[in-house]
């Protein structure tokens, strides 16, 4: 299978990429790792007239602490998100999600920014990034704006990205002391894509009660949904298995998933509760562990 013909530009800077994008408008697509776009082009589901390759643009990959956030360059590959010490120590739920995307080879090539911009409803990053209250830095010739994950994912494969914008950075707030994060996924056994998955951020008070929680579920709709009933049920409650299970049971409340060949709507709703419970339990367990300083490791 071959993609249809297209014109190719290897942008050498973000400015050049923006210029090319403005010049060629909607006929152009940005290419990062290409692990969603190239398969779509081979199947002729996508036939862009021009590809603007960001692969040689400096400064778009890597993980760093910037103020009270972790800043992840859009071209950082999944394997590097999964193995980053910063991510593993500060946001283990994000490392966990990165480590279960596709397979080794896919993780060596696919990028976090590409995955986010592609907005596949069966992808992992959108779910955990919604739970972690991440935001995305979008740059256009007019300037820069930052859009929260919940406002960014609009529908199946549809985001708030304007045709002249480049997603350059993913910003994830560093959780406060006493917080834990986790990701739990029911993947399709053949494709590995999400059937249902859950991301959780749990902030624990010293008393062991839940100060606040954010829980996002993937697989129940066109974009990740916040399990607000679950979050409310956790707030102020002791984080014990009974409370967590009762709260997680509300994970699919208010959703109306489509059943498919592999999983019925009822099954997906049930699995949402199961995987929400697993994610919350693990996040809560991580929240209860004393944060290790560099000296103690």
């Amino acid at each position: 299978m071959f993609p249809a013909s297209f014109g190719y530009f290897a942008a050498r800077s973000l400015e050049e990429a923006l210029e090319l994008l403005t010049k060629h408008g909607e006929g152009a697509k940005l290419l990062a790792g290409g692990h969603s776009l190239i398969p779509a082009m081979k199947l002729r589901l996508a036939s862009p007239r021009y590809l603007i390759d960001l692969g040689q643009v400096p400064g778009l990959s890597g993980v760093r602490v910037d103020g009270d956030s972790l800043a992840i360059g859009a071209l950082t590959v999944h394997a590097d998100v999964a193995s980053s010490d910063l991510v593993r120590q500060r946001l283990p739920g994000l490392a966990e999600a990165a480590a279960v995307i596709g397979d080794v080879q896919v993780r060596n090539r696919g990028t976090i920014g590409g995955s986010v911009a592609h907005a596949d409803p069966a992808a992992d990053f959108p779910v955990i990034l919604t739970a972690l209250a991440a935001s995305f830095v979008l740059v256009s010739p007019a300037g820069k704006r930052t859009v929260a994950a919940e406002k960014f994912f609009i529908d199946f494969f549809t985001t708030a990205l304007a045709p002249n914008e480049v997603l350059t950075e993913i910003r994830v707030p560093l959780p406060p002391a006493g917080a834990g994060t986790a990701y739990a996924k029911l993947g399709h056994p053949a494709s590995g894509y999400v059937v249902v998955s859950a991301g959780a951020l749990v902030v624990r008070q010293p008393s062991g009660r839940c100060a606040s929680a954010r829980v996002a579920i993937g697989g129940l709709g066109s974009v990740p949904i916040r399990a607000t009933a679950t979050e409310t049920a956790l707030q102020g409650q002791p984080l014990n298995p009974e409370v967590i299970a009762a709260a997680a049971a509300k994970a699919a409340e208010g959703t109306d998933p489509d059943g498919d060949l592999y999983a019925s709507a009822d099954y997906k709703r049930h699995m949402a509760a199961v995987y929400a419970r697993r994610a919350i339990e693990k996040a809560s367990e991580r929240a209860s562990k004393k944060v290790k300083t560099r000296m103690e490791i």
């Binding site: 299978m1 013909s5 297209f6 190719y8 290409g34 692969g55 040689q56 397979d103 080879q105």
Partner: protein, 164 residues
């Protein structure tokens, strides 16, 4: 501009090549048809089976899902680049010693993924090997011997005595 050919420079198995290619040419076909490196196979052609696995700048990747032009300036290793002066790479030797193949179609990809694994994890458990091979499919159901082959290679590469 559309269809315009692009000049591409890559180093494959230590040899520098320059070529003019169509932007839509996939890396696997560039390796096979332009450079004659037919050890890299096309299996599913949908980034699932891993028969096309190569190393691009030291990482195992699926060359059916990469445009040749994306590899401009890159260092590539294919299965042909593993042997040194006629001596097989320990992973290749392992596949021979432990009968890690039947039809052999998936083998180059299996070997390239295994080489990548042992670079990052010289002493993997069975489970770690199986997880590392998640992106490589064998339709002869030879997975047990593939795992044995990689364990054999790991032991040899760690400098341990290996019983045959």
């Amino acid at each position: 501009m559309k269809d315009e050919k692009i000049i591409l420079t890559v180093t494959a198995n230590g040899v520098k090549y320059e070529a003019e290619v169509e932007p839509r040419l996939l890396l696997v076909y560039f390796l096979r048809e332009h450079l004659g490196l037919t050890g890299t196979h096309v299996g599913c052609d949908t980034s699932q089976c891993g028969a096309c696995t190569i190393q691009l700048n030291g990482r195992a990747v699926k060359s059916c899902t990469i445009l040749a032009v994306q590899a401009n300036g890159a260092e590539i290793t294919t299965v042909e680049g593993l042997a040194r002066e006629g001596a097989l790479h320990p992973v290749q030797e392992g596949f021979r010693e432990k009968h890690g193949l039947q039809c052999g179609y998936c083998t180059p990809g299996m070997i390239m993924t295994a080489v990548h694994l042992l670079q990052t994890n010289p002493d993997p458990t069975d489970d770690e090997i199986k997880h590392a091979l998640e992106g490589n499919l064998c339709r002869c159901t030879g997975y047990i011997n593939i795992v044995e082959s990689i364990k054999w290679a790991a032991e040899k590469m760690r400098g341990n005595h290996v019983s045959r």
